[in-house]
């Protein structure tokens, strides 16, 4: 199942840290996400695209998972070698487009 078929998401950042949020549409979806999109699984997907160590914060009361990746954006947003500025606004699709069993 595609993560983004049962959740919505948004990317943010502070300094060199990337900050991703997923919110499941319902309780069942949250439990599926919480059990499948583990810290290890999320780290593996993120590492295909950027450096940094990922930490996951489950927020069951809000049906949300947060993923905070320190040093994902070395030197901060403006030091990027991506085209233009703020590519990280799209980084949540690394997780939304993930297919998990």
């Amino acid at each position: 199942m595609r993560v983004g078929s049962i959740s919505v998401g948004r990317s943010g950042d502070k300094g060199g840290t990337l900050d991703l949020t997923l919110v499941a549409l319902d309780e069942q979806g949250y439990h599926w996400l919480e059990s499948r999109l583990t810290e290890v699984e999320a780290q593996a997907s993120i590492s295909r695209v950027m450096p940094g160590v990922l930490r996951r914060y489950p927020v069951p009361g809000l049906r949300a998972l947060k993923f905070v990746i320190e040093d994902a954006l070395p030197g901060g947003v403006y030091a990027t070698l991506h085209a233009g500025l703020h590519w990280q606004k799209a980084a949540i699709w690394v997780l939304l487009d993930l297919e998990l069993d």
């Binding site: 948004r10 950042d13 502070k14 070698l81």
Partner: protein
Amino acid sequence: MEHRVVACGAGFAGDRTEPAVALAASGLVDAVGLECLAERTLVPGLRARRTDGDAGADPRLERRLRPLLPVARANDCRIISNLGAANPLSAGRQIARLASEIGCSGLRVAAVVGDDVIALAKHIEWQEPIVGEMLGAHAYLGADALRDAVDDGAHVIVTGRVADSALFSAEVLPILDDNLDALAGATTIGHLLECSGQLTGGNFEMPNGDSLTAQDFAELGFPLAHVRSDGSADLALLDGAPGRIDILTCTLQLLYEVHDPSAYITPDAILDLTGIRFEEIGPNRVRVSGARARGRPTRLKVSGFVEQPGFVADIEIGYAGTHALQRGRVAADALRMRLDNLPQKDLRIDLVGVDSTLGSASLPSPNRTPEVRVHVSARCSDAQMAQIVEDEVYSLTLSGPAGGGSVRSERRPSLAVVDGFIDRDLVKTETVWERAS
């Protein structure tokens, strides 16, 4: 229960100007906050201030306030903004002059100063070594720095660096219950409001691809909040304003950029957001409650801006028509060969329209694409090196695959933002008043 109505009229320096006017004109709003100062938006102001002591405020100040001031005044709506950027004192004078010019006589402007802590540099505990020239150091002030201006009835409060949430929570301070959880609630509401359209359906898409329509995005309403003395609030749009406020848009904005949701550090309180409850109480109307405080930080965060030599050169060249993707790939390979003397860590070459954003996590690309752009970014030690990289891309128009063109390039100066901390008792703030004649 006593309440105040606070609205967001801007969520970043370049944000639209009409929503603030609509909110003020509604007559429903006690204060409209304009958040106009991102981490680095201060830097052009700091540079301008070096040569002209009266410069350094946001250059968009007049564009934003000329239409807003008379409407806000007529509707008894306070304006609270960090438009002061690197020079809130000058911004205060500019606003008073503008108000005099457009007939808002007697308008009282409070400039809050004290965020500039460069004079206290030896007390700042930097989190990494400072390499290069420090342009400035600014502390994130809390809502308490705005309290005098609110209590003394300022029509406009203008600041430099303050926590974004404080631009909204300051209005509520006089009615808040005397406990830290109420302050945590008001700060949380400020955090929910501070990114304008991100609470009302901007930057939002449902799993099936549904989002607002083009017309809704073009006329998107910005949010307002009825904040009660216990720190709970009802979030809403003006009647008839396009947008979407529901549990999903609220949850995404609540958790936006907070890192650890059980300990989001703001100058006013360390927020525990894990017990927040959202309740949809009507169309585009959501009740929020349950914020808790985990103490108040004893230190303020400081951002230091350090100028370093060098640039990032960012260049693109486009290919179109039959075989465009193939020609783009060949061009990218040729550039990799031409630039193989650059360290790999300082160079990125990819295809815009294929994989320039998400790299190897990109969706599979189609075999045929009507056009593609080859992108090169390189970290360059000086202007001459940047020129060489730019010229290498241009050279493909003569010595590369057929039809290369639509070239564009930009150079971004190298600037580091270094985090630091300072004891909050050392940071003295002051309110300086101006009055429109």
